[in-house]
């Protein structure tokens, strides 16, 4: 771990590594930081909070109409009932994709993203090209992601400009009537919950 090394000698380190180590050391010496707390934060997002959370929400929405309705009414409460709460998921809204409507999510101003259900965002979501183009050319973006929409479908882009975080509920794939919730969750990709992908067909997971 970086904080195990002598922070006084940064000569062999790249600039960013040296910069983070210096800051972490200063803050730790001042009593403002407990390095073990950083370990715990990182471990949370590396092992516990990721797109698997959102996939479970989607699978339940596909199999339980009451839960789907709850999601439409109050996604924050419905998602919290599955145990997924907290930072960057304080105010959740679920938007449902169907044959006529395709929703996709962006944050043109920064990188807002529903951490509590999708974990930390990928680099492309935070990048200038996606943030710039998702609102102006969403169909071009979808084509680059390999998404083909049904004829006549309308695209609805949600720009996360406040603390509301959007979770796209992708359409349930054909031929999945016999699958249970766990098997359905395997079909739900991270991108399908941002709206830059579709749920996988059975057998493709």
């Amino acid at each position: 771990m970086p904080h195990d090394h002598d922070p006084g000698d940064h000569s062999h380190l790249d600039d960013m590594t040296a910069r983070v180590m210096a800051l972490e050391t200063v803050l730790t010496e001042k009593g403002l930081l407990d390095p073990a707390a950083i370990d715990a934060i990182v471990e949370t997002y590396e092992t516990r909070v990721g797109p698997r959370n959102g996939a479970q929400v989607v699978a339940r929405a596909w199999t339980d109409p009451d839960f789907a309705n709850w999601l439409r009414r109050d996604a924050t409460a419905a998602i919290a009932a599955m145990g997924f709460t907290g930072r960057q998921g304080e105010h959740m809204v679920a938007v449902f994709n169907g044959p006529r409507d395709h929703n996709m999510v962006v944050c043109t101003l920064c990188s807002c993203y529903p951490w509590s259900v999708l974990g930390l965002p990928p680099v492309w979501y935070k990048s200038a090209p996606y943030r710039a183009r998702a609102v102006k050319d969403p169909r071009g973006v979808l084509t680059e992601f390999g998404v083909t929409l049904p004829e006549g479908a309308q695209v609805h882009v949600w720009d996360s400009t406040a603390e509301v975080r959007y979770l796209v509920i992708p359409a349930r794939p054909e031929g999945t009537e016999d699958l249970d919730e766990a098997a359905l969750a395997d079909l739900v990709t991270r991108d399908s919950m941002i709206g830059t992908g579709l749920a996988l067909a059975p057998g493709a997971a």
């Binding site: 800051l23 200063v26 707390a37 930072r87 974990g119 183009r133 509301v164």
Partner: protein, 220 residues
């Protein structure tokens, strides 16, 4: 502010480049940068809006040349200096000169899970306040051009749309970025026809939605 962060509708940034099987972090220092930023924020010395403004309030060349977590780190250093928690001399030396205030609020490992689970809800008790707009009302966004923080993107200023949802009474980022945490306003989702925002190159029937606080909106 009309800063480099306001990217919606800008051209010239090239194609999106999704990475197959992208790792959560691309270098060990990114892990620490995330952790240090969240742990330092736990002191409560600044709001999410103030930290956003610290990331955005820099010259465009620097903003666009810094990687994501590098931007976070630069902003964090600025916030810590602004709030008197570290000095530039300490950062340069990589060691502390003196203890700091707020050390009693330092995040401990056993507090991490509750802190992350609690998050920081931005809604507030509206008291007697009632929303000025209802779902379905037609509104126009104001032509706001402040030097300070704002969450109304440039592409959606002075545009007409309709109220899609009333999201509750929320902390007002323009004030919160300045350290005033007591101001809150009604928050709405406003839907715009894509062609209103981006002309006839956009597809009729497509929509773009933003979340907008009441001071961003006028009734049409």
């Amino acid at each position: 502010m009309n800063g480099p962060q306001d990217l919606g509708g800008r051209d010239g940034f090239g194609p999106i480049a999704p990475e197959r099987d992208e790792p959560l972090f691309h270098a060990p220092w990114e892990r620490r940068a995330l952790g240090v930023t969240l742990a330092a924020g736990a002191h409560g010395a600044w709001s999410i809006d103030e930290s956003r403004h610290a990331r955005e309030n820099r010259d465009p060349a620097q903003y666009h040349s810094l990687s994501y977590y590098a931007l976070w780190l630069h902003a964090l250093e600025d916030l810590l200096k602004t709030h008197g928690m570290v000095t530039q001399a300490e950062l340069d030396r990589g060691h502390a000169d003196a203890p700091a205030p707020l050390a009693d609020r330092t995040l401990r490992p056993d507090q991490v899970a509750p802190m992350l689970a609690r998050g920081g809800p931005a809604d507030r008790d509206p008291g007697d306040s009632r929303p000025a707009f209802d779902v379905g009302d037609t509104v126009r966004t104001r032509n706001l051009q402040p030097r300070g923080h704002i969450r109304l993107p440039a592409y959606a200023r002075e545009k007409s749309g309709r109220i899609d949802a009333v999201r509750g009474y929320h902390v007002f980022p323009d004030a919160s970025a300045r350290g005033d945490l007591d101001v809150a306003h009604w928050l709405y989702t406003v839907a715009f026809d894509a062609q209103i925002l981006f002309g006839t190159e956009a597809r009729a029937g497509d929509t773009i939605r933003i979340d907008a606080w009441e001071p961003y909106l006028d009734r049409l």
